[in-house]
């Protein structure tokens, strides 16, 4: 795995002034994946937007860990449903065409 794809958890926590235990809790809840290298613990760059989002939920909006888990699950469902709507709209077009 390329090292430039990795974000040091310590650095992330320092920049955002958050406690490292928060990131650990997210990992324990299965919400993010932490990668342990020889020198440090990191997260993959792809996970950064999600990690920042969860930090916002926790620190800015005062939502606890259980709330974050629920929101993450519901947002994923919402996203899947939006994709489903697009597909259903495509399917509907076929029937609308046949009705004309």
């Amino acid at each position: 795995m390329q090292t430039d794809e990795m974000i040091l958890v310590n650095e992330f926590c320092t920049h955002h002034q958050i406690d490292i235990s928060f990131v650990r809790s997210l990992q324990q809840s299965g919400l993010i994946e932490i990668i342990q290298t020889k020198e440090a613990i990191c997260v993959h760059r792809d996970q950064l937007p999600e990690l920042e989002k969860m930090a916002r939920l926790y620190y800015d909006m005062d939502i606890n860990m259980e709330g974050i888990e629920t929101i993450t699950y519901l947002l994923n469902r919402m996203n899947a449903m939006q994709q489903e709507i697009i597909k259903l709209n495509d399917r509907l077009q076929i029937y609308e065409e046949n009705e004309e």
């Binding site: 920049h15 955002h16 002034q17 760059r45 950064l48 937007p49 920042e52 989002k53 930090a55 916002r56 939920l57 620190y59 800015d60 909006m61 005062d62 939502i63 929101i71 947002l75 919402m78 996203n79 939006q82 994709q83 697009i86 597909k87 495509d90 399917r91 077009q93 076929i94 065409e97 046949n98």
Partner: protein, 292 residues
């Protein structure tokens, strides 16, 4: 530029304490924050107002100035140069991760507090950009390159054949620049595939309607149709019923990132009845009718 009542936006009175402000902000943020309302522009806009109100009212200095000048804000003296230069702000816990750019504040805010007043110096990842790319069905059929202009920057992207309507691809680092040396955001491109007048797509399969005349439907024959990959000659079986659907294997849409693989093409036959019958034709049809 209108005066903005930040107290009204947060739903608090002018004597509200720091805790009340924080509580009101968090309550509204839980309802309107863009993280919880993806793709909802209205919620995003409202949250910007809430965020701005909190930015002002949760900072004692800004709140004092806001309260002092209030509706006469246009006559307010220039705020101290020091504030404009954006020193490290007090920790209000309100915006540490918001990633908003300067223009996310209203003109009213910028006029009173200067651009970017109160932003902190920590590194931030740049904001992600969202873009939509319209493609014709034919365009989505072949792997090709396209140049996009995003915020004045030209980006050449390769669009693989078989891309789906609504599919999102991510281009790392093509979002807004990071703040204070932070990494750039990403660019998310959503493909919007335009409806085609003849072909409808469902996954990798294509659907179309082909007209055949009554005689071909009854007696059988040949019918040449235009598919997206060229002309195809079909053999129509005798006594083909109207609305019957046939499948042409492998004549559908290319499968995304699977070179050489295609879905199927489904053709629904529509039988066209003859119009403006001559007397002789009418007599022959009557004869046919009487035979049964």
């Amino acid at each position: 530029m209108d005066y903005i009542d930040y107290y009204k936006i947060l739903g608090i009175d002018k004597n509200a304490g720091a805790d009340d402000i924080k509580k009101a902000y968090r309550k509204l943020a839980r309802k309107l924050h863009p993280d919880l309302n993806p793709n909802d522009k209205e919620a995003h806009k409202k949250f910007q107002q809430v965020n701005e109100a909190n930015e002002v009212l949760s900072d004692p200095e800004k709140r004092k100035k806001y309260d002092q000048y209030g509706k006469d804000w246009q006559h307010a003296e220039h705020f101290e140069q020091q504030r404009r230069s954006g020193g490290r702000r007090q920790q209000t816990g309100a915006q540490d991760f918001s990633g908003f750019e300067e223009h996310d504040f209203s003109s009213f805010f910028e006029s009173m507090f200067g651009q970017g007043g109160g932003r902190q110096q920590a590194k931030f990842r740049g904001q992600d950009y969202q873009a939509e790319l319209k493609l014709s069905l034919e365009g989505a059929m072949t792997t090709h390159q396209q140049v996009l202009t995003v915020n004045g920057k030209n980006i050449r992207i390769t669009i693989p054949a078989g891309v789906e309507n609504g599919q999102v691809i991510k281009l790392k680092g093509y979002g807004a620049p990071g703040v204070n040396g932070g990494p750039n955001g990403d660019l998310y491109i959503t493909f919007n595939i335009m409806p085609h007048p003849v072909f409808k797509r469902l996954g990798n399969d294509l659907y179309m309607t082909a007209n055949i005349d009554l005689y071909t439907a009854l007696l059988g024959g040949e019918k040449t149709i235009d598919t997206l990959s060229g002309k195809v000659k079909l053999t129509v079986k005798p006594e083909t019923q109207a609305g019957i659907k046939i499948r042409l294997k492998g004549k559908g849409f290319p499968v995304y990132k699977k070179e050489g693989e295609h879905g199927d093409l489904y053709i629904t036959y529509q039988v066209q009845l003859p119009e403006k019958l001559t007397e002789k034709e009418k007599a022959l049809f009557t004869e046919l009718k009487n035979l049964k």
